[in-house]
Structures are given as structure tokens and as C-alpha cells.
Amino acid sequence: MPDAVGLELIAKEINAAHEGAVSETGHEYGSATLVIEAENNLEVLRWLEETPGQEYTFCSSVHGADYLPAEPRFAVHYELLNRDRVERIHVKALLGDPSAGTDDRWGDGPLPTLRSSVGIFPTAEFQEREIYDFFGIVFDGHPDLRRITMPEDYVGWPQRRDFPVGGEPVIFTNTERERAGWYE
């Protein structure tokens, strides 16, 4: 990981190339974080990948997170790696919820959207599908954005923090009279 000074320099250079792209930097637990606005995600990722001296060419992981009471609510995390220097950098793209404040119980209102990074990192294909599947974050330009783990006809975004943990009713012989009537 770049040291604290190096991280500030990276943030400064990105901001010089793309105005206001990096909003915050973080350096904790031995991990360097660039907090960016979601609309700048591709510019920042491409800068980190292509700029000589940076060359974070390997994308280890892409994952989403929901910080529900916080605003903006969602984030997509990119874990980039330079294998020669064995340096990791963590890019966190913040995303607001367009259907915040509405009575959107099943998540069928407008969905948060950002551009897909598959063009830069082909490895993101499955992982962006997974984020879409679990958080309802849409990746513009993704070649095949479908649910990946949940059934294709599933309704709702199960990893969101306001999605309830429940169970499907299981019919046992002692409850089959009360439970929904498969026998009717």
C-alpha cells in the first residue's frame, strides 16, 4: 500500500486530472483508501491502472456495501493491486439512493447506477453481477447484467440493510393445517 504521503499525492494528481474526483482519503489498519464519487469511477480506475508509476493493474475484488443510515447510502469497493510493488489500494465509490424517502418496500423504484468497470477489469463481470443481485446497484455498460446467485425471478435486493431476515414457512405434518394450503 502507498504510505500516507504517497496516497495524498495520488489523490492530488487525480484531482488535478479530474476535478473533484477524490473527495477523501483514508489510511487505517494498514490499508489505503480513496473515497470517490461514483460518477468518476472509471476515470479514477483508469488513472490508477494506466499512469506510469502507479500501474494498479490487478483487480482483486469488487464488492458492494450498504451503510443504511448514512448518506450517501451505498458504496462499491474496488481492491486494486500492483503485483510488482505488492501494493494495494482500496477505492470506494459512494452512491446515493435515488429512491430514498419514498415508500419503496421491494426496491422496485429507481436504482442507483454507475458505470461498469468490466472494460478495464474483465474480472469484475461476475462480481458486478453479484453486487447487482444483492444490492440492486445497476452497472451501465455491463455485458450481461442478470442476477447471478438468487433466482432470476426473485424480487428485492437481499443484502440491503433494510431487507428483513426471514425464512420461508416450512410445512411439517403438525403445521400443515395452518400453513398455506398446498392440499386445497
Partner: protein, 432 residues
């Protein structure tokens, strides 16, 4: 009729599949729509057929469905469909306190449970800034490397079974069972041991464990020699694996593939060597790499890794330091059992830890370790409470599965089975 050993030209495949998604109805080159089951005027060599491979088939190594488009015996396109064993572990972890989620995370990829525990516990330890004792680190390494051998043996047995080498399956599972016996001896369980704790390991090893491990390390290399003697001179095995499923190193890196698959293509990338999440630097071992990147190299690399893991275990057992097996920080680690009867303070700590669990300061961290299938990473978001706000696992077989298409397209359908087996996917980890 094409020679079955030649690959179809890529341009032909691209023409055939331009703009087509996952559709059981295939447009043939003339624009007519044919369904797979309908008899066509064209010969079977020319007709494109889409079939489902799996989900219920032993050769898929789990519950994986592959939608494969075939032209004769050639694979034109392939799409993995997964989610059949999705259990929502990541969501369930959010409902549990940090230490109660450990049994969950080790059940994702059910052949590399120690690695997932290390990724998860190591992540928490980094977040709370906890140093673990040297003995605990060595015990973790011993168990993780035994786990790596175990995982590779299950892989070798099932892969050889897919290629018709039935006896390999029994031989490999025989040795694998000895490893499970060792786990049972030290941790009390054969699989899913919940042995790693935040701060160290749950219990010290019992008397006689190191002798058993040494005996295992003495006898296993000879067994591995025998496996190699069975497979390396087997004409069928060589023909089925050599020059099959080659993917270039550059493409594998683009696809985020790590672990033995990447090393077989000639990239010596191993997190044990380049990072210090555990003191692997104390031991001498090498990182085996392949040259061609075909299925034979993948087999050779994994078998060589078994030997290297044995070397690490031998050195770790030999140099096992004395001392505590778990950190002495009562805010995070349970007090020893015998103190509960005499110390009020210990009782309070015990009560607080068991009922509420410890709290982790707000923050987020991604912690990768080198698993048997590549980089196993754990990402935790803590919000200051006793439960994680998000637990995500970067499962290596999930990422590696993306390279299956590159391995298979243009090759024979029989090679698809070998490629999938050599990929070593664990569906419990893919679906989570």
C-alpha cells in the same frame, strides 16, 4: 469432418455467436432458428446444439449448471449458471456477533475452512490492532497447510476420477482421512473446526499431536510419489491433460485468476511469499510454477504444492515455540476456564463476551490470504457494534470460474470435463 485435436478458429466461433445471449434457441448461420431437439437436414457436425450440463452431475464438482453450445463435439460457447446452493451466509453473518460468525464463514468454501477463518479472524485482528502469540501463528500455519494438502488431495482424487482413474480416488481419500484425523485430534472436529479464534487458536494442541504430524509428514511424500507414478506415466492421463485448456498468463491476470491456475501459467504469484499475514518468512519453501499453462501443468503445480506444504509443516512443527496459544486480552478473548471459579473479573468478562460479544471500532478492511484455490479475501464493515455490518468473501473459485469459458471454447466437450475439474471449483464457496 475436422480433426478432433484441432481447435476451431476463433473467427468462426465469433461469427457463430455474434450478439447471442443465453438462448436455448440457436440461430444457425443461414438465419433459420433450430431448436436443439429438432432433427435437421444438416448433418450433426454442422448443427449447433445447446445442452445443459448439470446441475446434478458428479463431474460438475457440486451443483453447477453449464449451458454449453456444441457444434458436433466442439464447444462453441459456455455460460456457467450458479446459485443452486446459495444459503445467504453473508447476510446471516450480519445477524451474529463477530465471534459467532466464525462457524458461518468456514462453511462457505467447505474444503478451505481454515483459510476462511484466517481471512476473517485476521481481518478482525487487524481492525482491533491485536497481536497474536507466536505459537498461535505457528499452529495456524500448521493447520492451514494441512488443510491445503487436504484440499489438493480431494481435488486430485475427484479429478482423476473424472478421467477414469478410479483407484486414485480411494488412495487420495485415504490420506485425506488421516489429515481429518489430525484435525479431530487438535480441534475436536474433522471438518469445520472453528479452531481459529480472534487472538489465536481455541485450544492448545494435545499431547502426541506433533508426533502424529511428523509421522504424517514422513509418510506422505512417498504416497505422493506413488500417485505421480500412477498418473505421470499413464498414456490416457497425459493425452487428456497435455496441451488442453491453455489460457495465457495475461488473460488469466485480466480475469483476476489466482492460485495454482495462475502459477501453472508461469506467474509466480503467491501471497505467502509477498505478504506477512502469518510468519511464512520463517520457513523455506518454493513456489512451483508451470510453463505452458495447460491442464498437465495445473496438475503438476498442485502436486508440487503438496510437497511444499509438507516442508512448511515439518519446519513449523520443528520450530513450534512455547508460550500461550491465544492472546491475553480479556476484552476480546475468553478467560481460561479455571479462572471462572476464582476471579469475579474473569466471570464478568466471560459473561460480557458470551452474551454480547466484543465490539469492533467503526471501519472497513479487506484482508486477503493465499488459499488452496487462490486469493481468499474477507471484507468486513464494522459500525462500532458487536455485529459486523457487512461481511463479504472474495471467493477464489467464484472468480476463477470466469476463466472456464476461455479454457473450453473451441475445444472438445470431453475436455470441458477435464478443464472444469482442473479449475477445482467449490460450489459452496461460489454460491455462498
Amino acid at each position: 469432418m475436422l480433426d478432433p485435436r484441432t481447435k476451431l478458429e476463433e473467427s468462426k466461433i465469433a461469427d457463430q455467436f455474434a450478439g447471442r445471449g443465453l438462448n436455448p434457441l440457436i440461430e444457425d448461420p443461414d438465419g433459420a432458428v433450430v431448436t436443439p431437439m429438432v432433427e435437421s437436414e444438416t448433418s450433426t457436425d454442422e448443427q449447433v446444439m445447446t445442452i445443459n450440463m448439470g446441475p446434478h452431475h458428479p463431474a460438475t464438482h457440486g451443483v453447477l449448471r453449464l449451458v454449453v453450445s456444441l457444434k458436433g463435439e466442439y464447444v462453441l460457447d459456455l455460460k456457467p449458471v450458479m446459485g443452486y446452493v446459495h444459503t445467504g451466509i453473508e447476510k446471516s453473518c450480519e445477524q451474529k456477533s463477530f465471534w459467532k460468525a466464525i462457524p458461518f464463514v468456514e462453511r462457505m468454501d467447505y474444503l478451505s475452512y481454515f483459510f476462511q477463518m484466517q481471512a476473517y479472524c485476521g481481518c478482525i485482528e487487524r481492525m482491533i490492532g491485536m497481536e497474536i502469540p507466536k505459537r498461535a501463528e505457528y499452529l495456524r500455519i500448521i493447520h492451514m497447510e494441512l488443510n491445503r494438502i487436504h484440499s489438493h488431495l480431494v481435488w486430485l482424487g475427484t479429478t482423476a476420477l473424472d478421467l477414469g482413474a478410479m483407484s486414485m480416488f480411494w488412495y487420495c481419500f485415504n490420506v485425506r482421512d488421516r489429515i481429518l484425523d489430525l484435525f479431530e485430534m487438535s480441534a475436536g472436529q474433522r471438518m469445520h473446526t472453528r479452531y481459529f479464534q480472534v487472538g489465536g487458536v481455541a485450544e492448545d494442541i494435545p499431547v502426541g499431536f506433533t508426533e502424529k504430524v511428523k509421522e504424517f509428514c514422513r509418510e506422505t511424500p512417498e504416497r505422493v510419489d506413488q500417485y505421480e507414478a500412477l498418473l505421470d506415466r499413464n498414456e490416457i492421463f497425459l493425452q487428456r491433460t497435455r496441451d488442453v485448456g491453455i489460457v495465457s498468463r495475461e488473460r488469466l491476470l485480466e480475469l483476476g485468476v489466482t492460485g495454482p491456475l495462475l502459477r501453472a501459467a508461469g506467474e509466480p504469484w503467491d501471497l505467502r511469499k509477498v505478504t506477512d499475514y502469518l510468519p511464512y518468512g520463517d520457513f523455506e519453501f518454493s513456489v512451483p510454477v508451470g510453463t505452458v499453462g495447460d491442464n498437465y501443468d495445473r496438475y503438476r503445480v498442485r502436486v508440487a504444492e503438496i510437497r511444499e506444504s509438507i516442508k512448511i509443516i515439518e519446519q513449523a512443527v520443528e520450530g513450534l515455540p512455547e508460550g500461550p496459544h491465544i492472546a491475553d486480552d480479556r476484552k476480546y478473548v475468553l478467560p481460561p476456564r479455571d479462572e471462572l471459579g476464582t476471579s469475579m473479573e474473569s466471570l464478568i468478562h466471560h459473561f460480557k463476551l458470551v452474551t454480547e460479544g466484543f465490539r469492533v471500532p467503526p471501519g472497513e478492511l479487506y484482508n486477503p490470504v493465499e488459499g488452496p484455490r487462490g486469493e481468499t479475501g474477507c471484507f468486513i464493515v464494522a459500525d462500532g457494534s458487536a455485529k459486523p455490518a457487512r461481511v463479504h468473501f472474495r471467493d477464489s473459485s467464484f472468480i476463477n470460474l470466469q476463466s472456464l469459458k476461455d479454457m473450453c471454447v473451441g475445444g472438445l466437450v470431453a475436455d470441458l470435463i477435464v478443464n472444469l475439474a482442473m479449475l477445482d471449483p467449490i460450489l459452496g464457496g461460489i454460491d455462498r
